[in-house]
């Protein structure tokens, strides 16, 4: 029970308080402790990426095992993951690895590694295209659902119209100092409200961090017993 529940909270509490105190002590001893903890965080977080990979692989393997509909697509995920990792680890990340250059003499140290081919010509087009779909959705939403249904929504749409037109070269064409108006809106009223929201959000983040250190907040350890 101690290992499972209280030890993690003790570790979090100890290092949390230690790093807060360290901030206030400029003494060289505290600075070396600070450097050591930073190195440790870097090395330990090298393994946290495994968590993301493990949870995705587990999600898709269970989908295949249970033959959930659409399990073929999970197969594609696992196969493409395996191949890309294999190419990347053996073939080198940005420059072809020595092993690859021995295997296939065509690869010089200056040529792009196989992994970069999959990145530049498969991941980049797909990922940027998925997000460019949003322009289409916004166009149809602009027509069908963005309505001035209340005073607030009207204020929002009016400001949006001014900023949209003002921020484009055509805007200056229509009215000479349109950009100045837009810049003023962004610099004063918009900035004030964004700061108000930011102060609220920051207070929330700090409160959550304090609860984690004091051991009141346990959700980050994941559910279960």
């Amino acid at each position: 029970m101690f290992i499972r529940r209280t030890l993690p909270l003790l570790i979090a509490g100890f290092f949390g308080i230690a790093m807060i105190i360290q901030f206030f002590i400029p003494h060289p001893a505290s600075r070396t402790f600070y450097n050591m903890v930073l190195d440790w965080i870097i090395i330990v977080s090298a393994f946290t990426y495994l968590m993301a990979v493990q949870s995705t692989v587990e999600l898709h393997t269970t989908k295949i095992k249970r033959r959930v509909d659409g399990w073929q697509y999970s197969l594609i995920v696992l196969i493409s993951l395996g191949i890309t990792a294999f190419i990347g680890i053996l073939g080198g990340a940005f420059t072809p690895s020595t092993f690859l250059m021995k295997l296939i003499p065509a690869f010089k140290p200056s040529s792009t590694s196989p992994l970069m081919y999959t990145y530049l010509y498969m991941q980049v087009p797909m990922q940027s295209t998925i997000f460019s779909l949003l322009a289409f959705y916004m166009a149809s939403a602009a027509f069908r659902s963005f309505k001035a249904r209340s005073f607030d929504a009207t204020m929002l749409l009016l400001t949006a119209a001014i900023v949209t037109i003002g921020r484009v070269p055509l805007g200056e064409f229509i009215y000479k100092d349109f950009p100045e108006i837009v810049e003023w809106i962004l610099k004063y009223p918009n900035m004030a409200a964004q700061r108000g929201i930011l102060i609220g959000v920051e207070l929330g983040i700090i409160a959550t961090s304090l609860k984690i250190i004091l051991g009141i907040e346990r959700k980050y350890l994941g559910g279960g017993k």
Binding site: F15, W40, S80, I89, A135, M191, S209, I212
Partner: protein
């Protein structure tokens, strides 16, 4: 009209069209491209991790520079592997607790200072129209998000002004977001028209 002959440009173009087919209807081509993307991006991440992190930060110090202080975080990190075995998965809580604990400890003093810089920015030395709007805007927005008093009477009016400021801010963000989404589309059209089909320069 120089259609590109590079096989890789063709692969990229076909995958782009596979994703755009989602606009017409959700179809197997889109699903294939989307799940392929998930697999490739994680495979890419693992390779970068392997070369840039595990080799440089763990393997080299241990094997070449004989810096054995690395052992302690190494053991803590290896505990992460316990997630693969159901019965020992709770052991992975130790490294998570260390990172989250130390991370939050580092963030609290600096976040407070970040917050103070914002509050100090709202205390200008001189008073002109712009500064007045900033101070009034910040106060009214904060009052709108104040939950310990009923929003009636004077406080109600102040929070009414606050929500108007918030709507102007959201309007500005909204106008800017339109610009962002279109730029993404322009980027892809540029790729299809010039790199692939060679219609434009």
């Amino acid at each position: 009209m120089a259609i590109s002959t590079n096989i890789w440009i063709w692969i990229a173009a076909l995958l782009t069209l596979a994703i755009y087919s989602f606009l017409y209807k959700d179809n197997p081509f889109y699903k294939f491209a989307e799940y392929l993307l998930v697999g490739i991006s994680i495979g890419y991440g693992v390779s970068i991790y392997w070369h840039n992190t595990i080799i440089t930060k763990v393997y080299n110090p241990l094997v070449h520079e004989k810096d054995f202080l690395v052992i302690i975080p190494l053991i803590l990190g290896l505990l992460m592997f316990s997630r693969f075995f159901k019965s020992y998965s709770h052991l992975s809580r130790m490294p998570i607790a260390f990172i989250v604990g130390a991370g939050t400890g580092l963030s609290i003093p600096s976040s407070f200072e970040f917050l103070f810089k914002q509050v100090q920015g709202t205390m200008p030395a001189s008073l002109d129209v712009g500064n007045l709007i900033i101070i009034v805007g910040v106060i009214t927005t904060l009052v709108y998000f104040f939950f310990s008093m009923e929003h009636k009477g004077f406080v109600g009016k102040v929070s009414r002004i606050g929500i108007t400021f918030i709507m102007i801010a959201f309007g500005a963000a909204f106008g800017y977001t339109i610009m962002a989404r279109i730029s993404l589309l322009i980027g892809r059209i540029q790729f299809l028209l010039s790199d692939w089909l060679g219609i434009i320069k």
